[in-house]
């Protein structure tokens, strides 16, 4: 049986070149980068180079990169770190209803600590508008947290416009770029966010590593207390092999970005065409013209997502109902529920996310299998 992985938005297989970098670092640069002997200095050198590489991928300065244990930690550090450090300026935060749980749950926690949070609703196309943000800004607003592209629908948000608006009004802007990093061109010089979260295992890098871009001069309260690492913004012995692996993955992603982007677009487009050809009834969730190339979220009327996924799995196809990070829960997707509050669409929708290794033939095979499944419903 074929084994087809179309859940790259959840996690990706690691690139061979990344493994080589990591194993090399584990074997040879195993010193603690804070140690002053030569093992430590070798490790420090590798760390500095990796940070430089990562900074270059988004046109940031090396000291603006705070390495974390992943996307959740980076998003948490941005939200908690900024809000708690700047609460003297105001207590209002604006975010959206479709953020990843790493942002949403951090905001919910801040509400318990006395902050007021506005969760902007989305339209049926799956995005927030700059006008919505503008209407909800008050004198108390200190932070706007808006994802770059949604992880379930792939819909790209107007992060650039909102970043500009925030800058004009002197409000901090954080964007969760976990799904767009390595896929869309990102320059912090252009977008000018205050903070931006990125994760390695979504771009064929290792799990357990990510970074938060923090614009120079931004005040944060760290999540961890401890040593001097990451300029006290993130103490803890640096996870050097993973950092080096992440830098390799980022470099590769940057070099191959355009080529990968058009290939992923081709794959998801082929999938949609194949579904049409097979005459499967379906609708794409969210604005199909403003989505990242690797994610497509599809509504299949009359299906229930759980059994649909199980049957896909039997056919060797790994897709998902939405974010994997809801820790295996089968709660309906909060993103689709926000987009279609009246309909039961969340219970009948599946996310397909493509990546390295997928082929057009696989996409057509999936469409045929879905056709077979629909017949028996």
């Amino acid at each position: 049986m074929e084994k087809i992985y179309v859940d790259h938005a959840a996690s990706t297989p690691i690139d061979e070149r990344v493994i080589t970098t990591m194993i090399e670092a584990m074997k040879n640069q195993y010193g603690n980068p804070s140690s002053i002997h030569s093992f430590g200095r070798d490790a420090r050198k590798l760390l500095d180079e990796a940070r430089q590489t990562l900074a270059q991928t988004i046109e940031a300065k090396p000291n603006e990169i705070v390495l974390t244990s992943g996307g959740t930690e980076a998003n948490n550090l941005a939200i908690f770190g900024y809000a708690r450090a700047n609460k003297a300026k105001g207590n209002h935060i604006i975010t959206s209803a479709i953020e990843h749980h790493a942002v949403l749950d951090a905001c919910k926690q801040l509400e318990k600590e006395g902050f007021r949070v506005t969760y902007l609703p989305v339209n049926k196309d799956g995005y927030i508008t700059k006008e919505q943000v503008e209407e909800n800004m008050t004198d108390e607003t200190i932070l706007i947290a808006m994802m770059h592209a949604n992880n379930e629908t792939g819909v790209i948000q107007p992060a650039n416009e909102i970043a500009r608006l925030a800058k004009e009004k002197n409000i901090a802007f954080h964007t969760d770029a976990v799904q767009t990093y390595g896929v869309l061109p990102i320059s912090v010089k252009e977008m000018q966010p205050t903070m931006m979260a990125v994760s390695s295992h979504k771009i064929n890098g290792p799990k357990g590593i990510g970074f938060l871009y923090v614009k120079e001069g931004t005040k944060l309260i760290a999540t961890f207390a401890g040593g001097e690492q990451e300029k006290k913004r993130r103490p803890g012995t640096e996870n050097l092999p993973a950092i080096a692996g992440f830098a390799t993955a980022a470099k590769v992603a940057l070099e191959e970005r355009e080529q990968r982007g058009s290939f992923y677009q081709h794959l998801t487009d082929s999938f949609v065409s194949a579904l049409k050809e097979e005459e499967v009834p379906f609708q794409i969730n969210g604005d199909a013209n403003h989505r990242v190339p690797h994610i497509v979220n599809i509504y299949f009327p009359w299906t229930t997502v759980e059994s649909f996924l199980v049957r896909l799995d039997f056919a060797g196809i790994a897709a998902s109902s939405g974010s994997a990070c809801t820790a295996g829960s089968l709660d309906p997707s909060h993103v689709l529920t926000a987009m279609f509050p009246e309909e039961g669409r969340a219970q009948s929708s599946v996310r397909f996310s493509v990546g390295k290794g997928n082929t057009k033939e696989e996409m057509e095979y999936i469409a045929r299998e879905i056709k077979k499944m629909m017949k028996t419903i």
Binding site: I23, G31, S69, G70, P206, F224, P235, A327
Partner: protein, 383 residues
């Protein structure tokens, strides 16, 4: 090349690297995904959890995987302080903790918590009676390091634990990061409520660690999100990292039994040599100290210079904790022991691993015997 800074970090074992590589290539799915690649990754992850639980003497659901020692210590300390703050806002720790413990308490002080820092004796040891005397009606947490990372002093964790059992409203955490490798204990037997370990101190990988948390204890999380790790630690699980950690811990336990005598002999040999080396003052206590750490001061000499001289001979040792070695300040731990500024400013730490050989220890002794008298002559402290 002789690496004697194993308290800072250890070299990952080849078997550990293999385990990591295999897991990352074959089980790359997100363990929270419901499809087969996800469930396979989850199965492997839960196996790692079971193995770690068994090796540490804990229940499976008491194992919380973290990104390392700093996170484990922070999660335990802030997690308890915040979760139980309606019960009280008083906390107890010692003056010789790792920065990830000390700084966490200092941060809590800025938020209105009150912290008692129990002093230590000249060997760097807290008196269990003093710990108990510090307990108040509103104390919610006591955190004492198991093995001090600079001196190697073993704290009387079991006795403190026994004394604290009388106060069921407070929790006892120990930073076991330096202890787990050579001074292991069973979580259940020792009777602590929370215990932190870090993978890269026992030939596992950086970025991996465990907080053991007794069943039924609530923790306020540091990370909020998808609710992984029983809701206490959100974030996609680092499956290969934890598989590697489980492997490293298992090998460590096996090899620890085999090499216990060898390390003890090496330490004894080094201590004997240092006792007869003019200008050397041993800081590590003779009794009740970890077998892998020797801390020694060379008053009036600069430790950086000694380290450099040893580096030239291919031997790598350190001054104090790597986490604070960037600042050119005297060791806070040795100062806390009341051993004076001179000793605190001139300390070096030598730390062994199970792979350290007798010949390597001999080479270190030979080099010290040449370097130290030479430097003392230059400094004018010896004829």
């Amino acid at each position: 090349m002789i690496y004697l800074d194993n308290s800072a970090t250890t070299k990952p074992w080849p078997e550990v690297l293999e385990a990591y590589q295999k897991a990352t290539q074959t089980y790359f799915g997100n363990p929270s995904s419901l499809h087969r690649l996800g469930t396979e990754a989850d199965t492997l992850f839960q196996k790692a959890r079971q193995a770690v639980a068994k090796l540490l003497g804990a229940h499976t659901e008491e194992i919380i995987f973290t990104s390392g020692g700093t996170e484990g210590n922070n999660l335990a300390i802030k997690g308890i302080a915040f979760a139980y703050q309606t019960r009280g806002k008083h906390l107890i720790t010692s003056t010789v903790e790792h920065p990830s413990v000390l700084e966490a308490f200092r941060y809590l002080e800025t938020l209105g918590f009150e912290v008692t820092y129990v002093p230590v004796d000249q060997e760097g040891r807290v008196n269990p009676r003093h710990v108990e005397e510090a307990v108040r009606e509103d104390t919610t947490l006591v955190s004492i390091v198991h093995v001090n990372n600079e001196m190697g002093t073993i704290q009387p964790i079991e006795e403190i634990s026994r004394r604290l059992k009388k106060y069921p409203k407070l929790f006892f955490h120990t930073d076991h990061v330096q202890g787990v490798t050579h001074v292991p204990f069973s979580f259940r037997d020792i009777g602590v409520d929370l215990c932190t370990i870090s993978g890269h101190k026992f030939h596992g990988l950086k970025g991996t660690g465990v907080l053991v948390k007794r069943k039924g204890i609530r923790l306020s999380p540091l990370f909020h999100g998808g609710g992984q790790e029983f809701g206490v630690r959100s974030g996609t699980e680092n499956v290969p990292g934890m598989v590697a950690l489980a492997k490293a811990l298992r090998i460590t336990r096996e090899r620890q039994r085999e090499t216990k005598e060898k390390i003890l002999t090496g330490k004894k040999r080094l201590l004997e040599a240092l006792q007869t080396l003019e200008g050397a003052v041993i800081n590590t206590p003779v009794k009740d100290s970890a077998p892998h750490i020797v801390n020694v001061s060379f008053p009036t000499l600069k430790p950086e210079v000694i380290i450099q001289a040893l580096t030239k001979k291919g031997i790598h040792v350190s001054t104090k904790s790597a986490c604070s070695s960037k600042e050119n300040q005297p060791s806070a731990v040795i100062e806390a022991c009341g051993l004076g500024k001179e000793r605190a400013e001139s300390a070096i730490r030598i730390s062994f691993s199970v792979d350290t050989t007798e010949a390597e220890v001999e080479e270190l002794i030979t080099q010290l015997r040449m370097i130290i008298p030479e430097m003392r002559k230059v400094m004018g402290v010896a004829k």
